[in-house]
């Protein structure tokens, strides 16, 4: 049963990954990545880490992928024009990928970790459930937890600065222009109005 689940999830993960690399349209790539993430969540469950699997589904396949879908829909999922700027890149890059895989496998499997051939020690039923992870996160790893929260805040601020309105001044000018776009049209009208239709300007002033 476990082997069936493992191989099913592994095929899903590999297929999703290959789909991300091979799909011309980025939209289908995002959908393939969602398949990949769900398969990885199954693998995490097989490794008795329930909380990481739940976080994978909620955070990744939920929130992050929605962000990707929005950006792909905004930018437009047009396909890439041609594949390779360097001649032969299409053939050299998979070779390098295979070399990387062989190297990683040799590095891990030829290490003298004897426990690699087992399926790990027997653990109690609470291994990796939210209670255990939460206790570990809030007691022993409190400082990394807080540091990651600061990192999330910094990333949110950075995204607002980067993707704000087109302006030279960054966020302050951008938000001023963005929020008062409606009112910035009104002064332009008012400054135009005395030249063309003075009655409107007086009416606006009154």
């Amino acid at each position: 049963m476990e082997a069936v689940l493992f191989f099913g999830a592994a095929i899903g993960a590999l297929g999703g990954a290959l789909g991300v690399v091979a799909m011309r349209n980025p939209f289908y790539g995002v959908l393939a990545l969602i398949v990949h993430l769900f398969s990885l969540a199954v693998l995490f469950l097989l490794l008795t880490s329930a909380f990481v699997a739940a976080a994978q589904v909620v955070v990744y396949a939920g929130a992050v992928m929605v962000l990707y879908v929005f950006v792909v829909a905004y930018v437009g999922g047009d396909t890439e024009s041609a594949w390779e700027p360097i001649p032969g890149q299409r053939f050299l890059a998979p070779l390098l990928g295979i070399a990387l895989f062989v190297e990683l496998s040799i590095a891990v499997l030829a290490s003298s970790l004897l426990a690699l051939g087992t399926h790990g020690p027997d653990v109690n039923p609470g291994f990796g459930d939210p209670a255990a992870i939460g206790r570990l996160l809030l007691e022993r790893f409190l400082i990394p937890f807080e540091a990651s929260s600061i990192l999330l805040l910094l990333a949110a601020v950075g995204a607002v600065v980067l993707a704000g309105r087109l302006g030279t001044g960054g966020v302050s000018k951008g938000t001023v222009r963005g929020s008062s776009e409606h009112s910035s049209e009104a002064p332009a009208e008012r400054s135009e109005d005395p030249l063309t239709v003075p009655s409107h300007a007086s009416g606006g002033a009154a």
Binding site: A17, G29, S49, Y60, V75, P94, L116, S148
Partner: protein
Amino acid sequence: MNIEWYIVLSSLLFAIGATGILIRRSPVVILLCLELMLNAGNLALVAFSRMVGNQQGQIFAIVVMVVAACEVVVGLGLIVAIFRRKLPLDVDALRELRG
């Protein structure tokens, strides 16, 4: 299943992600391939944590997830900024920073 199956699968996924980064030219797809590599690392972390019988590797995986979310937010913000400035969404065309 033995732990080595998970480790081999993780290194295979990592290699696929690296190949994608080398091949593709759209920044969105390159970010997606970065996600593949980070998730391969997460799988290895969780597998080693199961191998040792210790939950600290899962904490590490959760922190990696947080870092990946931050990277996605900043990267997608960059892509939106590039798109707004009507620059081409192609990492080979954006070469002003190249030395």
